[in-house]
Structure formats: C-alpha cells, structure tokens
Symmetry: C2
Subunit: 213 residues, 2 copies
C-alpha cells in the first residue's frame, strides 16, 4: 500500500491522485496543508528534507519525492509510460518543460491569486508570471496542433503532468481562449477512463481568485 | 553522430559535454550564445520551440531538449544510469530537485552576477536567490553526509546534473564553505575518469562577478 502525503488543491499532488486512480491502485492520502506551514515541521522534513509535497511512502518505509519522478516510477510497466526509450525521453523532456517553464509561472500565478492576501507583495509578480505562462502555453499549443498527446501516440504521464495546472491556468489570470488545440486536448484528457479533476478552490480561495485583477 | 547545440558557459549544456566525454562518444558542438539572443532566432526555434539550450540533434533529424531528459536518454545502458527502477526513480527525483529547487536559484544568481550589467534591475533578485540557493545546498549536504553519490551507490547522471552549477555557486555569491560534505563530493566528481570542468568565465563575466556584492 502506498501513502501519498499531499495537499489536495496542489496540481503537483493531484497528478499522483489522477495516475493512481487511473491505474486502479489502492492508496492512502494524508492531507498536508503546505499553505499553512505543514511541510516545514520536523516530522514532514524527515519524509522530505526539501519540505515539499507530494511525497509517497511505501509500506517498507521507503520514500520518494518530486511529483514527476513519482509519476515515472508508478507508471512503469503500465500503459501510461511506453517502454520505448525514445518515447520515454519525450515524456521526460515534456515533464522537465513542465517543472521548469510551465509550473513556476502558471501554478505560482494561481497560488498567488488564490492563496495569498490581496495586499501580498507577491502580487507584483503576477504580470511577469502571466507573460511567461503564455509563452509556455504557446509551446504546448504548437505541439498539440500536430499531436494528440505528449507521450508518444497515447495518453500518458506527460499529459497527466501538464494537465494539472494547465486546466486551472485561468485561476491565475492566464486565459486559455487563445489556445484551441490546448482546449481540445484538455477535453480529451478529461474524457480518459477514471479521470478525476482537481478539486474546486475552497470558498476563501475562490473569493480571492475572483477579486484578483 | 550527435550534434549538441549549446552555450559553453551554461551548466545545463556542460552536463551533456561531461557525460558525452565520459561515455567516450563522438559529438559535434554548435555554439549558441543564449545571452545574445541566439536561442530566439527562427532557425533555433525550429529546433526547440521553447527557445532554450541545450538541444541535441541526431543524424536522422530527431531532436531532444531539456538537459536532464537528454542525460537520461544518452546514459541508458551505461554505468551512469542504473537499470534498477528504484535507483532510476532516485536519479529522476534528484534531477527534478535540481531543475526546480537548485538551478533556478544557484544558476540564475550566477547568470545575473556574470552576464548582466552592474546596473541591471535583475540584481535586486540576488538576495532572495542566494537564500533559496543555500536552502537547496543544505538539502544536498544532508544527503551527502550519509551517501557518496546521488544515483544509487555510484557516480551517475544525477551527480552530473547537480555538479554543474554547484561547482560554480560561488560565482553567484553563494559560498560553499558551510558545506564540507558537498565540497568532498565535488572533489570526488572532479576525480572521475574523463572529467572536464565548466570553462572559466570569460574576462567580461569574470570582471562582473568580481564586482558583484
């Protein structure tokens, strides 16, 4: 049995929930509210010295951190990760793109909009984050104009990794209307068997998102 | 034959040179100066729509971007990447750590110090980048207090990925003196057969680094 230590509103954590659901694996979920400092406690730092969710813990005590490394490990041998080395390289390339060029703008803009006070100085970062978020979406749009998926010719872990925050980019003020190929791909991902969406933001986050310019 | 499109002072690009040298593979190197806009030309964007080095190009025209995905692809089947799935997961976890929690502070602090003018507004980012860089180094130090390497029990691609910018962290004003285990590991990496160091910064970058507070 696998235990996921994760924060449900986090796309990085939701990636694991989506894969585990689609694999049909049983797992426990321990909620860790990273917005309230719960990833900085001594107990949590013993699981992941880098103080970030998600972390998975196996019944023999082994732990693994970094969402995309966990996706790769859990998907091995399944339809969500091709065995072919070149296709695996494509999946890793897109997952690195996600963590370096996509998540740090699109996820962070969403976090600032919904999970920081309206007078937070971090809100000054939003224009730059949105600009860079659009650059990342343009790269995805270009790929999706000629491909159905990000991992070879079928849905897989690179799609799961990129779907998480793309699907909620508008929470951070990054409109998806200019990207028809992305919107069609989001709908294809949502139609995969066993799909579950990231939970809607809670009332406080929803209010902050609505009030964010 | 592989062609690497890369910028020699970039640690992300140097990772590939180091692995290819240590694998004993022949390769061509095409210099692309990303500090002078050469990754934004139409020709380069045709190789990598994300406009970043490194990119590798194979003789059949296939291309692959993202330094750590390329390391993983090139190292498959060699001593630099264990076949064991759990060890591969560790390597991927550390390489994701590198791209998310390490490179965006340590490499960016170095870039700002050496490759932007002394009056660049980006220099205001340095204190925060250095603080976060030290957090990343503390995570590495803790691991290295009880492990020789980052990929299982021998030198491998996670070491190559993490070595690149750690070795030159001081260019960005991030001192390595508080980290004895990291300094011992840097020396072990430098002693591996076929090791080549990142080139020293050119005269202009060296002058800017020396003048950076």
């Amino acid at each position: 049995m696998i235990t996921v230590h994760g924060f449900s509103p986090s796309g990085n954590c939701h990636k694991l929930r989506l894969l585990l659901e689609q694999l049909g694996e049983r797992y426990d979920w321990v909620e860790v509210d990273s917005s309230q400092g719960q990833t900085r406690t001594p107990e949590f730092l013993a699981l992941n010295p880098n103080g970030k969710v998600p972390v998975v813990e196996f019944s023999d005590g082994r732990t693994l951190s970094e969402s995309n490394a966990i996706l790769y490990y859990l998907a091995d041998g399944s339809d969500f990760l091709p065995a072919d080395l070149w296709q695996r390289a494509q999946a890793l390339s897109w997952m690195n793109f996600e963590q370096y060029s996509h998540e740090p703008c699109i996820a962070v803009a969403r976090f600032i909009a919904g999970w920081t006070p309206l007078d937070s100085p971090r809100r000054a970062e939003l224009p730059k984050l949105r600009e860079r978020g659009h650059q990342a979406l343009a790269v995805m749009e270009r790929h999706l104009q000629t491909h159905q998926w990000f991992t070879g010719d079928r849905y897989g872990i690179a799609d799961i990794a990129l779907h998480a925050y793309t699907d909620v980019a508008e929470h951070g003020g990054i409109a998806l209307s200019p990207y028809p190929a992305i919107r069609a791909w989001l709908a294809r991902v949502r139609a995969t068997p066993g799909f579950i969406a990231l939970p809607e933001p809670g009332p406080q986050a929803a209010r902050l998102i609505a009030q964010t310019l």
